[in-house]
């Protein structure tokens, strides 16, 4: 049979009832549009919220926890090996927070092929002196370049320049909340007193906003060298090593390995931020559910319209059968009608979905919590478009299947006789 014949008949039937066809196609268009928009927006938000924590969180953190020593002397002593030892009033022994032999650890981690990068860090508590008031704060000593590369440090520095921290000696970046408390701005100088009682003057080169206001009231950043100076420690003094991996999923295994290898505590990101994955998963699930529901509703619309069309076209179906079209041919015609509606409506839906997403993408969304975000976040993942396209064809196929089957079973004798 001529391969153009069936599509030709389907096309003619569609065009003869183009208003109905339009309504059906608009149903599909609308649902695909909403599907794309919803998923783009939802996953955009998801990414943003996760990024808030996950972008800045190291995949593995190596540090020395302040905790009681696992190996108490009495347990190690040969004479008491076979005894039950009850020890009371154990005190934590973490007087040294320093990572031992940090230089060698950094070298060996850098050579691990799974590791994307490593950033050493020191944290120490200080008092900021502002006239009569003393404000408690935390100074993080960071490797500025590594921090920018791995954890997007510069994204959160809202005024001043992150890299000045590295280039200017004795400089500091203050949390926005803290700066407001101390009434200082970029270019000013702050007084601070270390836990050991020494007083320093540091120049403010930037202000940062993490998106979590409570942090911004206490946190500050300085270069590693400046912090070591504050603590009066040598240049190899590091309390934390932050490791970023290529594959986030390997973090728990690698953390375990490092913990044993380097004799330090290692915490992986999954343990530290378990709640985020759950939230992301649920939000994505809801978006997909709503999107798929929309498509199924559109499918019912097509089903109805095709059913009506078949009642209207009974005569045509009978005549097609009388002049030699088999039930299969008739079924193909109506399936094709349905699929054309799905295809055209789907393509339009993808287009409008993209359009609507980009409109949302340009709506201003300014919040103090998210300094880097200026408009609503949209995730233009091509996978959504693929799923939308495939799903529009699948739904319309099934929506068309039952009416088409009915059409294929129309008995021409009954129709021709019945007139």
């Amino acid at each position: 049979m001529n391969y153009k014949l069936i599509p030709g008949i389907a096309k003619s039937m569609l065009l003869a009832r183009w208003r109905q066809t339009m309504v059906a196609a608009i149903g599909v268009t609308f649902s695909i549009t909403m599907f794309i928009t919803l998923l783009s927006f939802m996953t955009g938000l998801n990414k943003l919220l996760d990024g808030l924590i996950l972008n800045r969180a190291p995949h593995i953190r190596l540090f020395n926890e302040i905790k009681p020593n696992l190996h108490q002397p009495v347990n190690v002593a040969a004479g008491y090996k076979n005894h039950y030892n009850f020890i009371q009033s154990i005190k934590s022994s973490g007087s040294r927070q320093e990572l031992y032999n940090s230089g060698a650890i950094i070298q060996s981690i850098k050579q691990d092929p799974r590791v994307a990068g490593i950033a050493p860090k020191i944290s120490t508590q200080v008092f900021f002196n502002d006239g009569a008031a003393d404000v408690v704060g935390v100074v993080f000593g960071i490797d500025v370049q590594a921090e920018i590369d791995l954890f997007h440090f510069n994204d959160y520095v809202t005024s001043g320049n992150a890299i000045d921290l590295k280039n200017t000696a004795n400089s500091i970046v203050l949390g926005k909340g803290l700066a407001d408390k101390l009434l200082v701005n970029v270019g000013d100088v702050v007084h601070l007193t270390t836990a050991k009682g020494e007083t320093f003057l540091l120049k403010v080169v930037g202000l940062f906003q993490s998106g979590i206001a409570e942090f911004d009231k206490t946190q500050t950043f300085a270069s590693l060298a400046t912090t070591q100076k504050l603590l009066n420690k040598p240049p190899n003094y590091v309390t934390d090593l932050q490791v970023k991996l290529y594959d986030l999923k390997q973090a728990p295994a690698v953390a375990k390995e490092y913990s044993q290898l380097f004799g330090a505590d290692a915490e992986d990101i999954q343990t530290a931020n378990a709640q985020f994955e759950t939230g992301t998963f649920i939000r994505t699930l809801i978006s997909y559910t709503v999107g798929v529901t929309l498509l199924i509703v559109a499918g019912f619309g097509i089903y109805n319209i095709l059913n009506m069309m078949i009642y209207e076209k009974m005569d045509s179906i009978a005549i097609l059968k009388a002049i030699g079209f088999s039930g299969k041919d008739v079924k193909r015609i109506f399936l094709l009608i349905s699929m054309i509606i799905g295809f055209v409506g789907g393509i339009a839906g993808l287009f409008f979905g993209f359009l609507l997403s980009s409109i949302i993408d340009s709506i201003p969304f300014i919040t103090a919590a998210l300094p880097t975000v200026k408009t609503y976040p949209i995730n233009y993942d091509p996978r959504f478009y693929l799923i939308g396209a495939v799903f529009s064809l699948i739904t319309t196929y099934f929506a068309g299947l039952f009416p088409a089957r009915k059409a294929s079973k129309v008995d021409p004798v009954i129709i021709i006789r019945g007139k």
């Binding site: 014949l5 030709g8 045509s316 005549i319 097609l320 059968k321 030699g324 299969k328 004798v413 021709i416």
Partner: protein, 226 residues
Amino acid sequence: MNNFILEAQQITKYFHDPLTVKVLDGVSFTINKGEFVAITGKSGCGKSTLLYILSTMDTDYEGDVLIDGVAMKKRREVQLAKTRNEKIGFVFQFHYLLSEFSVVRNVMLPGMKLNSLPEEQVEARAIERLRMLDIENLANKKANQLSGGEKQRVAIARAMINDPDIIMGDEPTGNLDKKNSELVFDIFKQLNKEINQTLLIVTHDQTFANRADRIIEMEDGRIVRQ
């Protein structure tokens, strides 16, 4: 080898709804190539039912139908559709053109389905058939813009597109006025004479039937005279 185009062998059919009624009772006859046969009888005598069985559209019967020597009873739906397409042309009482298509596309449809010729040749043949019936000027009109007589002539042209072995008509003049009935009948007669077309027409119009080569008269599901 005989040259029967169509052979009915002991066709018996029942209607089951609402009661089981025997509508056809062992009907047998043959039609030779080039014959113009009319089946007549009163309303309800089973003549249309017989035609639908002979046309292979109705498959619920006992006995067998041979078209061009091939038994139809055991064939599958797709094969029957192919037989209808190739060997049988139809003209119905209510003309049944597809209103979505133009006249020429309507005529072309069975030819396109058969697909033994390229589209341009099918179209040329369709125009030729329309010219034979003197309606080629209607070729590009929509089917629903025609008058009843014109529609019926288009339906005849469509029936002829694949040079069928037999053209079957179910009251083809039943819905037409006298003048158009004459016209349609003249066309059948002309086809029969000029191209030796075999025709099987069901009608209750006695004057029409009388002009056919042969009349099969039915009553209560049986042939009473032929």
